[in-house]
Structure formats: C-alpha cells, structure tokens
Symmetry: C2
Subunit: 570 residues, 2 copies
Amino acid sequence: MPARSTALAGLARRQAARQLPAAIRPAFTTAATARPSSSSLSRAAPLRAFSSTPRRAGGNVPARADYKKLTAADVEAFKSFLSTPASSLFTTIASPDGSWTPVNEDDLIGYNKDWMDKYVGHSQLLLKPKSTEEVSKIMAYCYKERIAVVPQGGNTGLVGGGTPVYDEVILSTEAMKEVRHFDEVSGILTADGGAILESLSNYLHPKGYMMPLDLGAKGSCHIAGNISTNAGGLRLLRYGSLHGTVLGIEAVLPDEKGTILSVGMPGGRGGALRKDNTGYDLKQLFIGAEGTLGIVTGVSIMTPRLSSAVNVAVLSVPDFKGVQKVFQETRGHLGEILSAFEFWDQEGLELVLHHTGQKTPFEGEPEGGRAFYVLIETSGSNNDHDSEKLGSLLEHLLESEVIADGVLAQDETQVASLWSLRESMPEAAGKLGKVYKYDLSMPVKDMYSLVEEARVRFEEHGLIKDGSIKSVVGYGHIGDGNLHINIVADRWDEKIEKTIEPWIYEATAARSGSISAEHGLGVMKAPYVGYSKSDESIDVMQAIRKLFDPRGILSPYKYLPPVKEPQAAN
Amino acid sequence: MPARSTALAGLARRQAARQLPAAIRPAFTTAATARPSSSSLSRAAPLRAFSSTPRRAGGNVPARADYKKLTAADVEAFKSFLSTPASSLFTTIASPDGSWTPVNEDDLIGYNKDWMDKYVGHSQLLLKPKSTEEVSKIMAYCYKERIAVVPQGGNTGLVGGGTPVYDEVILSTEAMKEVRHFDEVSGILTADGGAILESLSNYLHPKGYMMPLDLGAKGSCHIAGNISTNAGGLRLLRYGSLHGTVLGIEAVLPDEKGTILSVGMPGGRGGALRKDNTGYDLKQLFIGAEGTLGIVTGVSIMTPRLSSAVNVAVLSVPDFKGVQKVFQETRGHLGEILSAFEFWDQEGLELVLHHTGQKTPFEGEPEGGRAFYVLIETSGSNNDHDSEKLGSLLEHLLESEVIADGVLAQDETQVASLWSLRESMPEAAGKLGKVYKYDLSMPVKDMYSLVEEARVRFEEHGLIKDGSIKSVVGYGHIGDGNLHINIVADRWDEKIEKTIEPWIYEATAARSGSISAEHGLGVMKAPYVGYSKSDESIDVMQAIRKLFDPRGILSPYKYLPPVKEPQAAN
C-alpha cells in the first residue's frame, strides 16, 4: 500500500520540523463539491406538490379514536381565532356560506405525507397560526370539542411523528419563524418555534456565534421540531444535547384555557438563565416529547461561540476494531477541540460516490476491498494549535498502522467536500430505493456487529438474492454511540418490514441499546418503546402524558404504546 | 502603579519571544496554602456531635401536617426491612421488648440539624439502608402508613432541604456509597446515590477521567444530593449542567410498591446511553427535585477526560464593568480551554485574607482601596498551547489597561493557593458570624448592583451601624450569571431576615433573575418560587409532585409553595 507509506514519510518530515503537517494528502483530486448547505431533507418545496398515492408502512397503527369529526362550524370557529385566516387556514371542507375557499386534497398532501413517501394521513384542515395567542385559542377550542391535533414543523422526520395518522388537524409552526431576541454578551438566543435551524445559524454567524446543533435537515427543520424530537446531530459530541443547551420553552398546553406555559424565556418571570433551580425543570419534559404535551411556540437556547479554526480529516481504517482504536486515540490527542467523530462503512462510501459521481479521495482500493471511514473534525480558537494537535494524532495513527490512509482538508471547500461524503449518505440511499431507516444507540463496541447480523439475516431470508434489499449501509456518530442503519429496499413492503422488525429492536435490546437515539418514536416505534424502557418507566410516562393532555388530543396513536387497560378486580 | 507596568514589560518581552509568559508575577510571596481538598462544608464530623440549641430561622414553615406519629411498631417494621439493623437504624423511641437500643436526641442532632446551625428538626428515626431494595421496602411502608420522610445526603445544603422540619423519618444515603461500574472507553460512571463527590473524583483521576462538577462541599456531599439539588459549582461553565451530563437515575418512588424506577442505568433496559429518545426523559425531573419525587439511589453520569494542563490566574480589576470586559475578552481568547471564571469583591478578599492569615497576592493596595478580583482557569490537553493562549490574553488585558494587576500560578501548589482565595470564602464568612446566604442568577450586567443596593439598604435600616450586619460579600460564577451574596450577621435574627427577605427576591425578580441558581429551595425559598416562576408553571409543578407522591410523604413543607385550595364553586 504505497499511499500510506508516502503519506507517513511526508508527515514524519513535517512533524520533525514542528510544522503543521499540511496534509496526509490534499483532499480530493476531483473537483470538490461544496458542502450542501441544505441536504435532501431541506428540499422541502417539491414535497408540497407531489400527488402519488403513498401507502402507510407498518401495521402498528391503532384504530381511529372517537375524536370529533370536523364540521364547517369548527372551521368557522378556527377562522375566528386567526388574524389572517386567508394565509393561515386551509381546509378541504366546503363553506356553507362561501366565507372561505376550500382547497383540494392534493393541496394538503405536502403536509399530510412525510418526505420519505412512507406515512400519509388525511387531514382536512391545516392551520398556520401567526402567534402564540392564536395557538392558545386553537388549543382551547380543540380541548373543548375534543378535536385531535398533530403539531408539524418542517416535516423532515423519519418516524411519522409530524404527519396525521387519520384526520387530525395539522397545526404547523411555519408562520412563526422570527428571532425574538439575541443577547450578544451571553449568547442566549430566543426564537419562535417555527424558526428554521439554518436561518438561525445564518443569523448567528455574523455575530460570532453558532447553533449548538447541526443536522442534515437544517434547511427545513424547525427549532421547535428539533426540540420536540431532541435532535442530536453532528455537534452533540462537542456541545452536548439540547437538554443542556435549551434554557427555556414557551408551549401551549392542550387544556381548557390553552394555557401558555413559559419557562426560562426572556420577559417572563425568571428570564432565560444559565442556572435556575426554582422547581422542576419543566422545559426538559418538552425536549423529546414529540408534541404530546403541548405545542412548542418559542425557545431560548445557549449558543456557543463560532470557532475560528475548523479542520477536517477523513481516514480509512481496515476494520471496526480499528475505528474504536482511532476514537480512543483521537479523544486523547485532540481533547477539547474534537467536535465530530463520524464513521461509515464501505457500502456507505460506494453509495455516496455512485450518487454524487465523485471519485474516492483515497488512492486505490482498500485491502480486501473493504474498509471503514472516519471523519474527524476539530473546532477551536487557534488554527496553529489545532493543526499541530491534529497533525500529531495523524502521525501517531499512521506510525502505529491503525489507519491505512487519510486525507486532510486544505481549505473550506475541501472541508465541505469531506463532510459531503458523510452528509450525502441519506440522500444517496434515498435515490437508490425506499429506505428503512433505523437510528439506534448502544455501546460503541457493539455497534457494527448489528449491521453484520442484519446482512446475514436478509441473506438467509432471500431478500438480497431476490433484489428486495439492495444495500445495507451503516454509519453514524461514534462519539455518541449512535448507529444509523439504512436498509435500502426496492419498495415499501410488509414482508421486508417484518423481516426487519421487531428483530432489529430485539438485537438492539440485547446490546442494552436504545431503539431511538435521536430520531424519535412517532408512529413507527411507539409500540416498541418497551425494548428500551421498563414497564415502570412507561407507566410513569403515560401518567405524565395524561396529566398534560387529559383528553388525549395531541399527537394521538403515537409516541407511547397504548395505555394498558386496568385489570378488573376479582 | 509600578507593579502593572513592570509586569507588562516582562510579558511583552516573553510574548515577543513566543514563549510562555512565565507569569504576570509568580503567585504569592507568602507560603502557599494547599487548596483544601475538603472545605468547611466537608468538615462534617463535628456536626454530628454539637448539642447547642439552634433556632430555626424564618417564619415560613407551615404547621405540621397529619402524618402518622411513629410508634414502636413502626420501628419494628422498619427493622424488618434492613439487612443490618444495628448499623442502619437509630431511634429515640424506646423498644417495648428490648429488641433495639434507643439513642439519645443528641446522637441524632448531626442529622436533625444543618451545618450552618440554621435549621433544626426533631426526627426520632434515622435510617441508613444498605440497598435499593431496602429503600423500596421503607418507602412502600411509609406510603401505606403515611409516614413523612426526608431524604438526606451529606447534609451540606444551605436551604434546609435535607433536614427534617418536624419529626419526618430521616432516610440517609450514607450507607450506599459504592461505585457500581465504570466504562473506561465511554467514560460513563455508575454509582450508588450516597457516593461522596470527592471519592468519585479520586476514583476517576487515576483512570484519566474527572467528575463534570466540583464544589466546595465535595468532601461530604453525596452524588444523589448533587443531582437532587442540580448542583452547579465551579466547572459548569465548561462541562455544562447535570441536565446534560447525567445519563441515568435509579430512584425509589413513594408509592404502594416502593417502585424502583430505573432509567438510563446499565443492566436495565436501555442501559446508560449518551443518546436515548425513547419517551419522556424522566431522569430530568429528578435533577433538582430535592427528593420530592423519589429517593435517588443510583446514578450514571458521563465523565470528561482529565485535563493534562491546568492554568490559573487571578486578576485585579478596578470596577465591575471591567470584570464584564475581562469576561468577554477571556471567552474570545481562551475559547474551548476556559474552565472557570470566578469573581469576588474587595470585601470578599479581605474576609479571606483575614481568615487565612494570607497576604494579598497583589503588590500594594488597589487604587481607591477597592477592586474586583477575577479567577480564570484553563483546562486543556496541551500546556504549551494553553499557556500561549492565556499569556496572549493577559498581555492584551494589561496593554489595554482593563486590569490593574495579576498573578499567574507557577505550579500545582500555587494553583491551589489561588483557588483557595475563592474557595475559602464560605468558610471565612462562617467564621465571622451567622451567614445569610443567597444564591441568585441574573444577566451578568445586573449582578453587582444588587450587592450595592443591599449595602445601602442595610445602612438605611441601621443594621450596619449597630453591628447586626458585619459584612456584605459578593462573589460567584460570572460565566453562569450566578451571584452569591453572603450577608454576615452577628446572630440569626428575625428583624435582620425581614430586612433582607423578601426584598432580595424582589430585587432579583426586577432583574429577571432566579432566586435559586444552584442551591435549591428547601424550606428557605419554598414560599418565594413565584418570584422566578409563573403561576402556570407552579401549578404544573404541583400536579407533577402529586402524581409522583400522591400522599405527600416526601420532603413535606418544602420546595414549592403550599397548594392553593380550590375555590368553592358558587
């Protein structure tokens, strides 16, 4: 493998001179593609238009409960709550007196269906309120009339959490998207729930700050949706989860008053504070509640300083054991500047190269035709220091033969190119077929054996041979023990799904893992929460849900298994 | 001020040579005192012995509720739940058949009374169960019999949260103090609730890890107590709050089964995982719940890598505006290596120097006799890099005349000495008199005006002149907007207290602050939560408390204002 030794020699020379090792090898010989600022998920606009007839995958959905079926009188009531009904209310229900113009079912399909073409509902009413007060009036009415509601952000979810199951009213945060306040001293940002993640990033960058989370869907996803799904993403390793960075939440509760619960928000009692121990930290319940406790209409969040120095390297590692070794060495060498540690497998690389038309950044094929790939990102305040640390790590990894090859980005364009190898993965999988996506967390050492088991299983079930399953790709966030498996099928199919589920959840539970690391439960995983949580925990969760939503009108059929019927006393 | 210019010249020379600036000036010309590994709070042993008659400060305590008064039969029952009753059960109640030896009231005083000599209860029974199962049996019995319970950790609290108000059973976590598990790859530590913070630190250090929190009481406080009060401490700026670092909790609920709720703990379903989005994050409720929802018997927590390089500087800054300026510059220059940013005022410095007999580390008196003092700590993985960053900051601050003087620690002993200036503050105040302690958070710019207002107020009320109030000291964590005011009085006194409260809470609310940043509510602040939280929030909190503790047996009279009586329907 001449590439390695060449790189090693060069590195050693540079390192001896105590200079920044310019590169293991400059990244990419092909024209570098810019890091997509909006990924496949953010190409939301076309979603609103397509009119194919999707089918709902999975047979787990409970029957429609006895929520009120909407009438024209209800539409009239909703209309009265809205300051600009013409741009906030869309319904397929006819108006008896012509006071609104109904829309076609197709006009609502972008809200009734998810972007993967996997989940579809049949809501007759889409509301896009413009203020928290409007949301409050809507919720009070829905409580009184027992009308089911599904809150929807950017509709970028993967588990059918944001789309209606039946005819729930869709309450979109789309029209509430402003930054409310930013404190340049503390870095605390306050925004409407419907603010788009990327817009917030763009707002912060010129001020020297950044959002503490970043994910593929950033161009479409709403901050309230991020919070409601406790989105993890690419920066969690460095900046921690939203449970640590979110300081406040404004939410409208599904009760008779449409109570506006505001905790840790500027202007309210207490304000947005980094430390506040006055009672239960209620906002935490809303982080990851998927809209089952209330509609998140506002948020305050701590934003870190923008790093002035960012470096990215992608390494080729012969086996998964090596990936773990690289992770340990990386944490030791890079310490406080490590900001991402991502991995993907050979299938993942090939999928992306095929999709983007890029050439591999590495010279030649890996030994045996297979390798794992690791992306390491550093973010710091001094590029000389960071480059020295990263150079020392890479030299060490090459010398100890833990890695086979590597590329180091030389400029921002190459940083973007290297990131695109990882970030194009969902899009590339989506182009190849229908993607069964699983988002699991578990101890790092157990992560990849699950992917291997899956391949063997599908082979044994004949799903590879008959072309039902086209590829099984493993990638994810090593630093967080978070594995994404994408199983690319040629169609949505019950037989395929039954071969995957619940086997994949059992395999995760056997590794003491979580069946939902960062994507949420929605309608897809609601029945399976018991694989990762005890009966006692689920009982408490159901009691909390009932406490907040006594009439069960928010996001029904989702998030938790159906409440167990109490046993009759004998 | 010759000291400054000398230091500046030296710095500039060293900086020009691109070397580590050895110091603004070596820290301390007096013999350096070692950083106390256990502070005043950790000198808990004597507490168990004193027998003075303390008085309870404050007139906010509700009347005793109609909990069962303990009988010998109850003691017999508790005895049956314990594997080693002789070392786990201590009661002043006589045994009708001699099956246990009662203790004197004095033997329990160390558990009935807080370390500040401010809060005292009259419990007749102290339990120190050895296992979660024992706690479960105890709680099930207390539920059935409606016996009130106060959980107690290291009894290091400041708000009367850990001591009984009347005759509540004291449930101490003292006998459950083992490390259960440590994963050297992930850094995830699992321990019993009664494990002492410093013991956990000592366990981790040889393995290259550290606890993500550090506070003065580390030698005595229990990790379950830290979690139950959401302790902040000295490292929050860098490692974030426990809401981000705690991964799992095992807690015993006050219900008929003494349900053991285990979430995010190894061995249970789901394990201890960095990412887990399967349902509401129940553990978050227990963080800062002060034992009102359940008894925390176990915890899993992410521990960061031990930093190989630690640097500390203490600076003298002419005014509070300068302190804010230094903070902004420090964040800019030190970025990812900043691990603490503490401040104290002239009164604080003088108090500590008087108490410890140390000489000031600065040359001469500050201009006008007053200054503010800032402690900056860096923690990183490369001492050369960190020293260069810190040197560049200090040079910049001196050149721009934002700081008047400064000292930089040269070795670990000096690091400890500089830290002791800040960490000895509570102890020094305690030696001078009875200390009314307030722990507030608010926007940084508003922090110190509150201290100044307090001094004017006490002056106007004649409390300074008559010697009732001996000193008003302000210090705290600038990075977290967390101000500690210590008001040193000559006695616990209702007149003094009424001059302070509720004025100080009103002054905090006027600054959109929190009346409890990191110390909790306990009995002291329960009536005042409304200064920092809306009525809606408090209503929700009370409903959650009732959901977990329907018979109200855990930590009664504390944490939240009494539940409003429902208004009679007319």
